[in-house]
Symmetry: C2
């Protein structure tokens, strides 16, 4: 149904799920961008939510949306070979096609309950426009990657990038092995000036560890720390981080599927990070290395990989659910990731029918281990319904158009 004013009610939500608490049969009143109240009251238009499970919005903390065009392009190679292949194509990849690809990825992400994403690529202006068009939160910037682009060029472009309602610039740095020390310094300076964070791949492969140690005498995270680039940085992958380096980390992002698919092996020390109270988030990584953008599957795979690595079950469903919701919102600096009074109204409504057994004490397990992305029916961002059955029709039409437009540039 259409919502005609700024206050409305999600009525009789079957379950409202936070990582630490599940409640049943309550109403959620949304006013403007926020959750005004949760309880028995109603206000404004009403949406019957008795057939939905309501969870907080989900943050895909690391992806490369334009790489959806490269999905399946070079699946069966290890990271160094795979990356070379990607870069060969990316040298010729045109901005317009990048934006069309990002749009395709956003349609896919929204329909699976992702309300915010952190993107590393070369089309942040396009991302900003798409964020406005679809009402999804987006965090993107030009990416420092010295072999493909001159750092001063990235710096210049980045300085022209403007914030928008749901869009915020971030400082993307590919990695310590693909940039110079000067570039790292430039990135730090920019992040301070623009009051945003640095987003970087670190300690992803054994080869990276070896090469950085040989070149600089330090491990990658140590090196970043030396240049004051760990405090306000989001470090992605960390499969080969040394135990003592964990002390330097503040924001860490786990991409279990991509790490496994690219055979980088290693061990993202989730438990130790939780013990130290770090901000730990989860990302799908790009559609060329996952190849799905479904964050529900990613939550499950995070538990699976962690249990396989620790030989125990210390990482549980609620840890990864928290990482994908509340911790994701902590990373992006928005008071969201919880379905709670006073929090931003970023919400995901999941059909309850296919979930069996549907019980209060098992609903979190069902969401994570049954990976319910396919049952997402409505998505709310900033109080607005940005995805529902009506949008599905529009989305499908637009997808058809995008596929046709992109057909010529698929490598």
């Amino acid at each position: 149904m259409e919502i005609r004013n700024n206050t409305y009610t999600l009525r009789k939500c079957k379950f409202i799920v936070n990582y630490d608490k599940v409640i049943e049969d309550k109403n959620i009143i949304i006013q403007d961008n926020f959750i005004k109240d949760i309880g028995e009251e109603t206000e404004g238009d009403e949406i019957d939510c008795s057939k939905y499970v309501v969870i907080p919005g989900i943050v895909n903390a690391h992806t490369h949306t334009p790489m959806i065009i490269l999905r399946g392009y070079y699946d069966d190679a290890e990271l160094p070979v795979w990356l070379e292949k990607m870069w060969q194509f990316e040298k010729k990849y045109q901005l317009e096609a990048m934006n069309l690809s990002s749009e395709l990825a956003i349609l896919e992400m929204l329909s699976k309950g992702t309300t915010a994403f952190v993107d590393m690529y070369f089309n942040p202006d396009g991302i900003r426009e798409l964020s406005r068009k679809y009402g999804i939160r987006a965090y993107a910037g030009y990416t420092f990657l010295d072999s493909l682009f001159e750092p001063y060029e990235i710096d210049m472009k980045q300085r022209q990038l403007r914030e928008d309602n749901l869009f915020k610039p971030i400082i993307n740095v590919h990695s310590v092995y693909a940039t110079s020390i000067n570039t790292l310094k430039l990135a730090r300076q920019l992040s301070e000036e623009q009051n945003t964070w640095v987003h970087i791949h670190v300690s992803e492969t054994r080869r990276e560890i070896y090469e950085i140690k040989k070149k600089y005498g330090k491990f990658p995270v140590e090196l970043l720390h030396e240049f004051n680039l760990t405090k306000n940085s989001q470090l992605v992958h960390l499969g080969w981080i040394a135990s003592w380096e964990i002390n330097y980390v503040n924001h860490a992002t786990h991409c279990p599927t991509s790490n496994m698919k690219l055979a980088t092996a290693g061990f993202f020390p989730f438990r130790e990070m939780l013990e130290r109270g770090l901000n730990v988030t989860i990302g799908t990584d790009g559609p060329a290395s996952n190849n799905s953008l479904d964050m529900f599957r990613e939550m499950k795979n995070a538990v699976l990989l962690q249990r396989h690595s620790y030989w125990d079950t210390s990482i549980k469903a609620y840890h990864v659910f928290k990482a994908a919701t509340e911790e994701g919102y902590k990373l992006i600096g928005v008071k969201g990731g919880r379905v709670e009074k006073g929090y931003i109204a970023d919400l995901v409504l999941i059909r309850k029918d296919p979930l069996y057994p549907l019980r209060k004490d098992r609903i979190l397990s069902n969401i994570v281990y049954n990976s319910v992305g396919e049952y997402v029916e409505k998505v709310i961002v900033n109080g607005k319904i940005v995805y529902d059955e009506d949008k599905l029709i529009t989305f499908n039409k637009r997808r058809e158009e995008l596929l046709k437009l992109l057909d010529k540039v698929i490598p």
Copy 2:
């Protein structure tokens, strides 16, 4: 559309995918139970398949369907503790409820493209009836598990179990640690008499290896080999198999998700098994330890776990696709698992629209890494359409009924 006779045509299939070959825009003529021809001709009624990707039927080589009632019941424990919890419930689990649960699981599996499954539980008669009702291939038997049931009782019941059109009895043995040597001998004898195979969990945990070695002086697979129980046996899990034991194995089943979720760690040596030409299949395991029954996700997770274990990409999409199709059919002894003239007409039709990029050279990658179970639209078993949009409505109705009936017995 309704098919009015025994010969019909799947017209203009967008792609027809076998693990080793993809063809485009061809017709599949089905006559009775078999694929009569693939090419330009048509015969009988026609179904327009220009919007479908056609793949062979999928075999879920190891599951415990009645455990869907235990989905999410005790998720966050390691195997020995988890198993104790399961057994406590199973002691009181009534046959009628088991059958209702199996029915629920079959609805779920069929709708995700599973055409055959191998089940280990205590309700094979119910499974036979359900196999007839839904037209799915099923392989089940009473399970030897000495702590719960007297072996002679299982033996007696098993002898009364009859084959059916799509159902075949198998000899289920829980494990070497949960049965005596006499039970193992009984199982072998039964399998010879009933001309079927033994289906058993083996070398799943370090603890099992330790206990069996201490008790018998042999590793579990060695022990089975001593009692002539490896030649015609399907050995499930094998995460802790010793390298020299691989020589004794003929049929091995990999359950990557369950192994990771239960933190059994270890290493299923997929590559070594392929090198020796073994019959390697894939199973979801039961819905209490996965918790999904979607074989597409299982194929992906098999690649992921293997790449993480080997630190390389030697296990590729086509290996797991083959394991889930052609090798699955080899296990169950049916000439299927390929979309090819003369093979049994067990087929899965997947909507092509959501698959991007949709290209001949990437379709196999898309099926495996994008895990397309949610896009399955029609399923054909033995030449008959056993799942389509019409059936979806019937399935959903029946699911509602089953949920109500089962509500009282959920632990």
